[in-house]
Symmetry: C2
Subunit: 169 residues, 2 copies
């Protein structure tokens, strides 16, 4: 017997849909679709045009923002890669001369990594292209629409944070 | 010598910023932040409350939409997991009685999977909770704001698709 061939009874329906939240669900799926679509395209262009992975680009972007360098543990907090992957990423960027490592003066167990001048120059060339791609991707929205979207996403971020906080209290 | 201590010269600046697209970049990063935040929370609640992974939930959601069942290859096209992961996911869902498999009448090399009545019932109970979480997460936005966000994300999706199409032509 197939569930689909008999109409759901009222009780099952009530259990399934205590209130109708289909609009919010559609909103979330659309947000996710946009994010997945754009991230996929950025990832593809980074790979095809610069032979750079997204985690490598993200790591260099983090270091570009902190010219004095960062400890590995701070880096790992800001990036969404595992510690093992981060270490091998750092090893490869050091081997290719993009970053340099030194022992922290404050904590000799901690390693500080920073971009080399060559690493910084290469990152910024890629970052400029990356920024142009993103502008192209959002190019179908007017200035006004971009501004509205920015404001609504700020609200969404706050609303999501509140839901998460309420949850973990 | 630290790059940060000397101002960038005009040429470097021009290379770096042919046009200023910082607004679009901020927009993209905010969209990505929202998406990552919400996905992480949904993933956490599915795990904590139902001991269900997001790929498992997504697979059941795909099957719930197609009561007649789907071939493994159609399933893999709609989901963002590798074929190997999909096969092991399907094996586990079959072992726990949530789905059933049969050979396709059209193509005997193809396997068709569908939810069992018990699998469907369990999925729908989780899906109702999931929908309520999403409504809570977007709860800080008024109906009007949700509608506006929906419309702007539709434009974003279209704009991203156009950028991707232009790229691959």
């Amino acid at each position: 017997m197939d569930n689909q061939t008999i109409p759901l009874d009222a009780e099952t329906k009530a259990l399934e849909m205590p209130e109708d939240h289909r609009d919010e669900l559609r909103l979330w799926l659309r947000l996710l679709t946009c994010s997945t679509l754009i991230e996929g395209e950025v990832r593809r262009r980074l790979r095809d045009r610069f032979d750079v992975t997204l985690p490598r680009f993200d790591l260099m972007a983090q270091l570009d923002k902190t010219p004095e360098g960062m400890t590995l543990s701070d880096l790992s907090k800001r990036m969404m890669v595992s510690n093992g992957n981060l270490t091998s990423l750092v090893d490869r960027l050091a081997a290719s001369g993009h970053i340099e490592r030194r022992v922290s003066a404050i904590d000799r167990r901690a390693q500080i990594v920073k971009l080399t001048p060559a690493g910084r120059m290469e990152f910024r060339a890629i970052a400029a292209e990356h920024e142009a791609w993103v502008a192209e991707i959002f190019g179908g929205l007017s200035q006004r629409e971009q501004k509205d979207l920015m404001r609504l996403l700020a609200k969404t971020k706050l609303s999501a944070r509140n839901a998460i906080m309420g949850e973990t209290q």
